[in-house]
């Protein structure tokens, strides 16, 4: 079983809708949580970065981390066609010298105009 599980989708929603993307994980050592957006055949782009539990908002994006449930979410408000991409969650442990990122499999999102 993978340390990080993510629904691969694909997920299609109409423009303007609220999108909810989720990941679960099994490694309780994970303390840093990230969401990346990846367009086809491009490198991942960092969207949100969160340490430990809580919420973080940046424009139309909100990241939530619930460490007690080992569950993280990314919400996209007022979704736009340009948001169509694969969204990857990533995590790393809070061990000095252990900064490797463990990724979910990615959710392919399509925003329909």
């Amino acid at each position: 079983q993978k340390e990080v599980e993510q629904d691969p989708g694909p997920l299609s929603v109409p423009e303007g809708a609220i999108v909810s993307l989720n990941c679960t994980y099994s490694n309780s050592a994970f303390q840093y949580f990230m969401w990346y957006r990846q367009y086809s055949r491009k490198g991942p782009e960092l969207l949100m970065y969160t340490y430990s539990s809580g919420n973080k908002e940046d424009g139309r994006f909100t990241a939530q981390v619930d460490k007690s449930s080992k569950y993280i979410s990314l919400f996209i408000r007022d979704s736009q066609p340009s948001d169509s991409a694969t969204y990857l969650c990533a995590m790393s442990a809070d061990d000095f010298g252990n900064e490797k990122l463990t990724f979910g499999t990615g959710t392919r999102l399509t925003i329909i105009p």
Binding site: K42, G43, E45, L46, G97, E99, K100, L101, G104, T105
Partner: protein, 113 residues
């Protein structure tokens, strides 16, 4: 402010050959990590370099080796190429240790024939 840059963009090799990929980190960053992303899969951690030393390594064979230079740029070398080495190779940079906000470059797409 230049982001992470990688070269070359694309590369085609045949089985058994050797390849060298290059990465320049984001300005101000001193830590470089390499990831392999097979088509349709999530990135997998190869190794990380800091202060010109390999600090952490993922589950990759010794055919994969690297180097970091005094200017923090890095190279990834792969010997005795296999068909299964075909992938997008991603370089990510970050600042210091224990701080996991990693920024990715556009990647080098390697095709092994």
């Amino acid at each position: 402010d230049a982001g992470v840059t990688q070269s070359p963009t694309h590369l085609i090799k045949t089985r058994g050959q050797q390849v060298t990929l290059r990465c320049s980190p984001k300005s101000g960053h001193d830590t470089v990590s390499w990831y392999q992303q097979a088509l349709g899969q999530e990135p997998q951690f190869i190794f990380q370099y800091y202060e010109e030393e390999e600090r952490q390594r993922g589950n990759f064979p010794d055919r994969f080796s690297g180097h970091q230079f005094p200017n923090y740029s890095s190279e990834l070398n792969v010997n005795a190429l296999l068909l299964g080495d075909s992938a997008l190779y991603l370089c990510a940079s970050s600042f210091g240790l224990g701080y996991n906000e990693q920024f990715f470059g556009p990647g080098t797409r390697l095709t092994v024939l």
